[in-house]
């Protein structure tokens, strides 16, 4: 059913994702909700199942064979993460529950103890709620200011304004998404990080949406923290990574207290463990981390240039397709985008569009995408979002066009 673009064999990739064979409402599934979560290849599903069948034990505790096996696999996963994002050392990569927990960890353990009244944290107008609310909480408590950098109608950060906000508001910390989940915009984060550092502010990248589409090199980006989730890059849910510069992480107090994060405990005081364990209190999602490691193996087995070419082509194809159906308008038309197309209809609500598309077997997201301030900026309550992966095809987008024409028919 799929065409071969550049050197990518989409059919052989699709064959590795069992869920893509599902039938929904009598139609073959077309999964266009990849920005919410991606589907999982067999290798990821199998390694999780095999772990529980053959290797399950707690990590970093027991002397028995299974304990050693589990610990080895868990720490190997950390090294895979390290190499994937080009971190200098594995202990800079902390396993957390996901991007949201990573951001909260930095907000509570790094920013909260350091920020003072009147100082500022800078975000952009296109952030996900998970990169807004943690900073609101920190700023409110410290009587600091949460400052928002404006965006253009196309969905690009206004860089001049961003720089101005940095200077005018005594900004100590900047938290920005690398890629917007609602618009698909790829932000010029290297430039923004340089601007922030020039003013003495440190930077966290919300990397949830970038990790599945762009090569990530934390050293080259020169960010100070980078958070992402496994489940948006073909790995399991429930696990993610916070990367931070080793010196910063060493300087931070733990986020949560418990087992595994200590070196010695008396009832009077506790000496904390070294990195990364200081930040990994309690039994982690061991199988999840191992699954993430295998998702990284899977991504590395693909021809990344061919993937990028295919995804760029799908974005162009989907954009043109949406333009071809009357009544629909695309929200988010930045020049640099990942394959995400958000759109609205003048008269038909996103929920109604979502239901009718679902009837055709097409899974899209309809809603505010956890970006209510951004929806307010565009004056809409909700959009319909098509977010694509390398396993999607032109033929599927053609089916979307057909289904959107049906939407028009229902409400004509």
């Amino acid at each position: 059913m799929s065409k071969i673009n550049s050197n990518l064999n989409v059919d052989s990739i699709r064959a590795q994702f069992p869920l893509l064979k599902e039938t929904i409402n009598g139609n073959p599934l077309i999964y266009f909700d990849n920005a919410a979560t991606t589907q999982k290849p067999n290798s990821v599903i199998d390694v999780i199942s095999n772990f529980y069948r053959h290797d399950n034990a707690n990590v970093h505790r027991a002397v028995h064979t299974l304990g050693a096996r589990a610990t080895l696999a868990f720490e190997e996963a950390r090294e895979k993460v390290q190499h994937f994002i080009h971190a200098k050392v594995p202990q800079e990569c902390l396993f957390v529950r996901g991007t949201t927990e990573g951001i909260n960890l930095v907000a509570q353990s790094f920013v909260a103890p350091r920020i003072e009244a009147g100082e500022g944290v800078l975000i952009t107008h296109m952030e996900h709620h998970s990169n807004i609310v943690p900073w609101q909480m920190v700023c409110r408590k410290a009587s600091a200011n949460l400052i928002v950098a404006p965006i253009s109608i196309e969905g690009d950060v206004l860089l001049d304004e961003f720089e101005k906000k940095l200077t005018e508001n005594d900004i100590k910390f900047v938290a920005i998404n690398y890629v917007s989940n609602a618009l698909g915009t790829i932000n010029p984060v290297k430039k923004m990080i340089k601007m922030a550092h020039d003013k003495g502010a440190l930077v966290l990248l919300d990397g949830a949406q970038a990790i599945a589409h762009l090569p990530v090199d934390v050293v080259d980006l020169d960010c100070d923290f980078y958070a992402f989730s496994s489940h948006k890059m073909y790995g399991p849910t429930g696990v993610g990574v916070l990367w931070g510069r080793e010196a910063l992480l060493n300087d931070m107090a733990p986020y949560q207290g418990g087992g595994e994060m200590i070196s010695s405990v008396t009832f009077e005081s506790t000496d904390y463990a070294a990195l990364p364990h200081k930040f990994e209190a309690g039994t982690p999602d061991i199988a999840g981390a191992i699954g993430l490691g295998v998702a990284i193996d899977f991504l590395k087995s693909l021809d990344m240039n061919a993937i990028a070419a295919h995804e760029a082509h799908l974005l162009d194809y989907a954009t043109a397709a949406l333009h071809s159906v009357k009544g629909f308008n695309i929200i988010g038309t930045a020049k640099h985008k990942v394959p995400v197309v958000s759109f609205v209809h003048g008269k038909i609500h996103a929920h109604d569009i979502g239901t009718i598309l679902d009837n055709e077997g097409i899974a899209v997201r309809s809603g505010h995408h956890c970006t209510m301030p951004l929806m307010d900026f565009y004056g809409v309550a909700a959009t319909t979002r098509v977010s694509l992966s390398f396993y999607n095809t032109e033929a599927e987008i053609d089916r979307l066009v057909y289904a959107l024409q049906k939407v028009e028919e229902v409400f004509a």
Binding site: N25, G26, I348, H349, A350, H351, D352, T355, I356, N359, S366, G367, H368, M372, M375, A381, A382, K406, E409, V410, F411
Partner: protein
């Protein structure tokens, strides 16, 4: 189009979505409340005028999907002239129609004809859309409680 979808978006729903009845701000309302669907950001305000225990007039304003708008519109018509107790019972019956729960109604409750509200029976096949169809009703109930805090369907 599938049978379920045609059931959901039947003529009366499309009509009430396109030209909602009682769609205005009631200046002499005796009660009003705001409703909010966190899932999609839909917002509406329901106005009620009650006199001698009878719902004299119900109106609404706001934006939302076809189901929530049509449901609000049909509700404003259905509630007119009902006693407060009848209004509560009607919502109970309406809710049962949408969710299919087998909750037995109290014996002394008088069954009230759902009448035009049965146009929304198709929602039953779409559990994700039940909240759209009940938003206006939850908001109406909040207005009756003279509760001015926004209602959420969560």
């Amino acid at each position: 189009m599938s049978f379920d979808l045609r059931e959901l978006y039947q003529e009366m729903i499309i009509d009430h979505n396109r030209s909602p009845r009682n769609f205005y701000t009631m200046v002499d309302a005796t009660a009003a409340a705001n409703g909010f669907n966190q899932l999609c950001g839909d917002k509406l305000t329901v106005y009620v005028k009650i006199d001698l225990g009878i719902v004299q007039e119900v109106s609404f304003v706001g934006s939302g999907c076809a189901i929530s708008k049509a449901s609000a519109s049909l509700m404003t018509e259905a509630l007119q002239g009902k006693t407060i107790e009848e209004a509560h019972n009607l919502f109970k019956q309406f809710h049962t129609m949408l969710t299919g729960s087998d909750e037995k109604s109290d014996e002394h409750e008088t069954a009230i004809s759902l009448d035009k509200l049965t146009a929304l029976a198709g929602v039953r096949a779409y559990p994700a859309r039940v909240k759209c169809a009940t938003l206006a009703w939850h908001t109406f109930e909040a207005a009756l409680r003279h509760d001015h805090s926004p209602v959420s369907t969560e």
